[in-house]
């Protein structure tokens, strides 16, 4: 298919762009296969480059012969383009609509994007499971890498290589896979070096209404327990939801069959409940009524902060079981691709200082989200402004990022990355020139040949100039477990995402720069003092009079 077919009017002059908190710009609007571009004629400094895939919805308005289109983006920005001429306006609107809703992944921009920077370290090779496993091997020999899923036949949403208990063979894994939702048999998510406890994740057990049992499943997870030790199963669903799942063939581990495990149910919401929540929250943030009561009641009604509290609490609970109770943990919900991953990845942020570095966090996203089969393609197809009927969209990953932001705010010196890094990840999950978040599983990514045909986001991020922008100046490596507060008073709205386009960030940016300045100046002085000290020492040793005793 040629993009040109979809572009009815490639270029319009005299278009006026309105953006919040920025002066209006008049210029020429151009449509390309993947971008909406507005460049001002006076000089080329003011430009708008908008990926079509970032457009969530557009609205048309007409006043006389002047048409306006209001473009609402997945990153929650809203811009307005005044386009002279009714026909041009209609053409632009329908072209943008068509281009922003292309169904085929292989037509997406990452397949056409050629990097304008030198790729020093190919992000596609930065986080290979083999390498990650080497770290694990240095700590314990109780686990092995299994390639039972090398053809994606045992579990379509798992990667080819997974870590499983050493003494569990592949045949047993295949049997367990038939007993777990989506074939997602329990695999290692995290090994806690301090006490050797582990966190595993899986799909729900397919017990069904008649309480089907799988001895192999029991054997597998029991193999992770130390003699005489008990473990915890954290089911991310409320008990009644888990009960209802039985009717559809799912279920949960019964006390009788899993006597060494204690099950805890937590109620993390899923799917359209979360999508609805996002839509309501964004609507509340965009409300112009200036009424405090309305704002607070809309914020409450969106339930977004409730979800944050619930997810964070569950992650803290999992971390507490591992670090404080000295117990191993198995986490699952229904599929094990959403709330499960929120819990396992946040627990690692709490427990493992390594995950709080920039590289470590990328590794976490790679392991616990991309490799673990979170269906990014489906979850991030639409954002808060879409008028289309939601299918499988849900801001699961955004909620995870928001929870990380909450912890970062409470431990401002314990993270190597800053808020900008989290915002960047949010943006790229919804629209990106990079292939990292395309597809919904390792299998899909392999068949799309993303590794060969697209550039990895990590290739771009892990360059000095980007890293500098994303590094938290306050960072001081903190080897401790960090326990966040989950009191409602401690959990704040993530302004950097939800109010980003509704208020000027000038003053807060200035404060950030000031902070950087204070720290940079200190470092500069330290260098100076050290070099003077060396010079002084040298002078003293050179002094012949001082040599004599």
């Amino acid at each position: 298919m040629e993009f040109a077919e979809l572009i009815k009017t490639p270029r319009v002059d005299g278009v006026v762009l309105h953006r919040p908190f920025m002066p209006t710009v008049e210029g020429t609007l151009c449509l390309t296969g993947h971008h909406l571009i507005l460049s001002s004629r006076q000089d080329n400094t003011e430009e708008l480059w908008l990926l079509h895939s970032n457009i969530d919805s557009i609205e048309k308005r007409f006043v006389g012969s002047l048409g306006s289109i209001i473009v609402k983006c997945k990153d929650l920005r809203v811009i307005q383009l005044d386009i002279p001429g009714m026909e041009e306006c209609l053409n632009i609107a329908s072209s943008v609509e068509a281009l922003s809703t292309l169904d085929s992944i292989s037509l997406m921009y990452p397949f056409f994007y050629r990097p304008m920077f030198e790729v020093k370290e190919d992000g596609w090779n930065s986080f290979l499971p083999q390498d990650t496993f080497k770290d694990l091997e240095s700590m314990t020999d109780e686990w092995r890498l299994s390639d039972v899923n090398k053809d994606f036949n045992v579990c379509p949403s798992y990667p080819p290589l997974v870590a499983v208990p050493k003494h569990i063979d592949d045949d047993l894994l295949k049997k367990v896979a038939t007993f777990r939702h989506g074939g997602r048999f329990p695999v290692l998510s995290y090994y806690h070096k301090k006490n050797g406890m582990v966190m595993m994740r899986a799909g729900q057990p397919l017990t069904g209404t008649n309480g089907r049992r799988c001895k192999e499943d029991e054997k597998l997870i029991n193999a992770t327990l130390r003699p005489g030790k008990r473990g915890y199963i954290i089911d991310t669903r409320a008990i009644n939801v888990a009960q209802q799942a039985k009717a559809r063939g799912g279920g949960f581990e019964s006390e009788g069959n899993y006597p060494q495990w204690r099950r805890i149910h937590k109620a993390i919401e899923r799917y359209n409940v979360l999508q609805e929540s996002l839509i309501k929250l964004v609507e509340a943030c965009n409300d112009q009524s200036h009424s405090m009561d309305r704002w607070l009641s809309k914020l409450e009604a969106s339930s977004w902060q409730t979800h944050i509290k619930e997810i964070l609490t569950t992650a803290c609970l999992a971390a507490q079981c591992i670090d404080r109770e000295g117990a191993s943990v198995l986490v699952h919900g229904t599929e094990g691709t959403d709330s499960t991953l929120q819990v396992t990845s946040l627990a690692q942020i709490i427990l493992d200082p390594g995950c709080r570095t920039i590289k470590g966090f990328q590794g976490l996203v790679e392991r616990e989200w991309l490799q673990a089969g979170h269906p990014f393609q489906q979850r991030c197809a639409q954002s808060a402004y879409s008028n289309n009927k939601p299918r499988q969209e849900a801001p699961v990953f955004l909620l995870f990022l928001d929870c990380v932001m909450q912890i970062l705010r409470q431990f401002p010196c314990s993270f190597e990355f800053n808020e900008a890094f989290l915002v960047l990840l949010f943006e790229h999950t919804y629209a990106s020139q990079f292939g990292t978040f395309l597809g919904s599983s390792a299998a899909e990514r392999t068949s799309l040949c993303l590794r060969e045909k697209t550039v990895s986001l990590w290739s771009w991020v892990n360059r000095p100039q980007e890293l500098e922008r994303l590094t938290n100046p306050l960072y001081e490596a903190n080897s401790l477990v960090i326990w966040p507060s989950v009191a409602p008073q401690s959990l704040l709205l993530w302004e950097g995402v939800f109010l980003r386009w509704n208020r000027s960030s000038k003053c807060l940016d200035e404060a950030y720069d000031e902070m950087v300045h204070i720290i940079e100046y200190n470092k500069e002085l330290q260098t100076k003092v050290n070099s003077l000290r060396r010079q002084l020492a040298q002078l003293e040793t050179e002094d012949p009079l001082l040599q004599t005793p």
């Binding site: 805890i264 405090m292 010196c413 477990v481 009191a487 200035e510």
Partner: protein, 652 residues
């Protein structure tokens, strides 16, 4: 001392209000003339909790249970202490004693009259010289051709709640002032609050006019005319009534009311819809109930916050302040502000406008001056509003809390614009209520003069200034663009946040575990040292080079220490404590106490006054409960809560 029925109770438990399942602390409760002191009887470190009687807001005795008789002490600084006293009669005695001790009947009983830090009399007298009323006005460029200092209220004859020295328009003659004052509630005639040197616009304040349905007063009209004319570039002025219109109309029936635009030449009249002291009191009460909820859900909290209406009121005050500040700075128009009596809402709005308008009021000294000017000297009724003495509970209202919160809200939006930090606001808040210093005693300048406050008590401002290092904002630079001229905050609802730093101040677990302010301060301190080292190294090097040239012996001085390594945070122990994430699912045992809190309320220095000399020697005397923060597990060696596992399993 005669009010202390029981000076000492043993085996008292202090419960953790947030996580009641946690182990409570056992200790001895002492009642002294000025403080309640809980001394934890644990082997090793002796943890003490000091509570000033004057900070006690209410004492509640609940029905006794098997484990003891609960006594809840709520403080004006939002600390809540849950005691459990073994014997009911003892509890009753403590209850009655605290009731009496926390509600003095006479000013003389207040703590400031007995508070005697080791200071010479002339030092004490100098403390009061710290604030100079006229200095701030001369900073504004007054007196000048338009404004003069009027001696008319010298003996508080015209208005007994006004200060003796006031600035009025040059053209306002004594008969006009007196006439106007007779037409205003409590004689509070229009007087200058702030003057903008650059464009001659001014903020004046007064009480409501006694206009009723149709009354007029020529002198009052002349007074406003005089204010208008003292701003030659403007052909009109605003009259801002900070009340909701309905309230103002209702006042007309009582012979009070608001200015009729037809009777005054060239005024533009504006209502501001800030509610009265009773609404504000109830609103804060509701909000505090939300703060006190045990493990509330997000909905409980947000619904409670909304229905309290607190943030709506805060927004209304900031909105009014922004309106006035813009009128003065952008339009160059003078403003007369009033409410009913002109000592609550008027004080709030004028002082918020001043903070927005003038960078000086965003400095440490400036905020003190502002509070002294618009609150203390203009007769905000501190002793009534803060319940310093036993009195009409309907007079109490958190008006000044709201002002401090408005400043905090602005600081959140404009982090580089203020020289002071959140701790400064909290320290001022505490001491407005503590009665440790004389500044806020009484309801007017006249009362303070009669009480001879300046001769008998100490001044808070000098204490704060001495400790200013604790209260400065590391991000502040006087030359930063953010702090220049008029501040333009956003007043969208989402820009207002719940101030947990004040209202949940003692729930340490809720606050960020690492402080950016402390971190940056440590860096700045180190930078200072580095600068000194740099200079001294340079000097030594040049000296050495000289000496080598001349061959003179030089004895090496000891090298400076390498730069001090500042710790990540003093609260690392805190970092390592999970909270109750389970609602009782998994509990472990408590933890060693944390280092003491900031010593905002100093304990008495004089051991005789405390009734028990051992306390004055304690190194970690404090007003807060330091280790409420560690409501949770656990050092590695901690013993396990015996039924913790049971709880988990039974629920599974």
């Amino acid at each position: 001392m005669e009010h202390i029925r029981l000076p000492k109770v043993e085996n008292v438990k202090l419960l953790d209000k947030v996580s009641p399942r946690r182990r409570s602390r056992v200790g001895v409760l002492y009642l002294t003339a000025t403080h309640s002191i809980f001394v934890e009887s644990e082997v090793g470190g002796r943890n003490e909790t000091w509570v000033l009687h004057s900070l006690v807001c209410s004492v509640e005795k609940q029905a006794s249970t098997e484990s003891g008789c609960p006594l809840i002490v709520r403080c004006k600084n939002f600390q809540v202490l849950h005691f459990s006293i073994p014997r009911d009669p003892d509890c009753h005695d403590v209850y009655l004693s605290l009731q009496r001790l926390s509600q003095p009947e006479r000013y003389e009983e207040l703590y400031c009259f007995s508070y005697q830090p080791n200071a010479e009399e002339d030092v004490r007298r100098q403390e009061w010289a710290f604030f100079d009323f006229k200095a701030d006005y001369s900073r504004m460029g007054l007196p000048n051709a338009q404004w003069k200092l009027s001696p008319i209220n010298q003996n508080y004859k015209v208005s007994n709640s006004y200060p003796s020295d006031l600035f009025v328009p040059e053209s306002a003659t004594p008969p006009v002032i007196v006439g106007s004052s007779k037409f205003r509630s409590r004689g509070r005639f229009p007087a200058l609050s702030y003057y903008c040197k650059k464009n001659h616009a001014a903020i004046c304040r007064s009480s409501q006019p006694l206009s009723g349905f149709s009354a007029r007063c020529l002198e009052d009209e002349q007074m406003l005319e005089a204010i208008l004319r003292s701003n030659p570039r403007s052909d009109f002025m605003y009259v801002v009534d900070t009340r909701p219109k309905l309230n103002a109309i209702a006042n007309r029936a009582a012979g009070k009311g608001y200015e009729n635009e037809d009777n005054y030449s060239n005024i533009k009249f504006q209502f501001m819809s800030i509610e009265n002291i009773h609404v504000m009191r109830n609103s804060q009460q509701k909000m505090l109930e939300v703060c006190e909820l045990r493990s509330p859900s997000m909905s409980d909290f947000l619904e409670g916050l909304e229905s309290s209406g607190w943030l709506r009121h805060i927004k209304a005050i900031v909105d009014a302040g922004v309106f006035i500040a813009k009128a003065v700075a952008e339009e160059g128009v003078s403003v007369l502000v009033h409410c009913s009596d002109g000592w609550d809402r008027t004080a709030q709005v004028c002082s918020v406008a001043c903070v927005l308008l003038d960078p000086f009021y965003r400095t440490l000294k400036g905020l003190m001056v502002l509070i002294e000017k618009d609150w203390v000297s203009f007769g905000h009724k501190f002793s009534y509003r803060c319940n310093h003495l036993i009195g009409d509970p309907k007079e109490a209202s958190p008006i000044v809390d709201q002002f401090l919160e408005c400043v905090w809200q602005l600081m959140e939006q404009l982090p580089c614009a203020f020289q002071y930090n959140e701790r400064f606001l909290i320290a001022i808040h505490s001491h407005i209520y503590s009665c440790q210093y004389g500044n806020f005693i009484g309801n007017s300048q006249r009362e303070r003069t009669e009480l001879r406050v300046q001769e008998r008590t100490h001044s808070l401002w000098s204490y704060l200034w001495t400790n200013r290092a604790d209260f400065t904002n590391p991000l502040y630079r006087p030359d930063h663009s953010q702090t220049q001229g008029l501040l333009r905050p956003s007043t969208s609802p989402y820009c207002f946040k719940f101030w947990k730093g004040l209202y949940n101040r003692f729930d340490h677990g809720m606050h960020p575990r690492q402080s950016v302010v402390d971190y940056l301060k440590a860096i700045q301190e180190e930078t200072q040292q580095l600068e000194d080292q740099l200079a001294s190294h340079k000097q030594k090097i040049s000296q050495l080079e000289q000496e080598q040239k001349w061959g003179v012996t030089w004895a090496p001085a000891a090298f400076d220490r390498s730069p001090t390594i500042w710790a990540l945070s003093t609260d690392l122990a805190l970092v390592n404590t999970p909270q109750d994430y389970t609602g009782g699912f998994i509990t472990s045992s408590p933890h060693t106490p944390k280092a003491p809190d900031h010593n905002l309320i100093s304990p008495p220095q004089d051991s005789n006054k405390t009734g028990d000399s051992i306390f004055s020697n304690g190194s970690d005397q404090e007003s807060g409960i330091a280790d409420l923060s560690c409501r949770s597990p656990l050092s590695e060696d901690s013993t396990k809560d015996p039924d913790s596992d049971e709880a988990v399993y039974s629920t599974a």
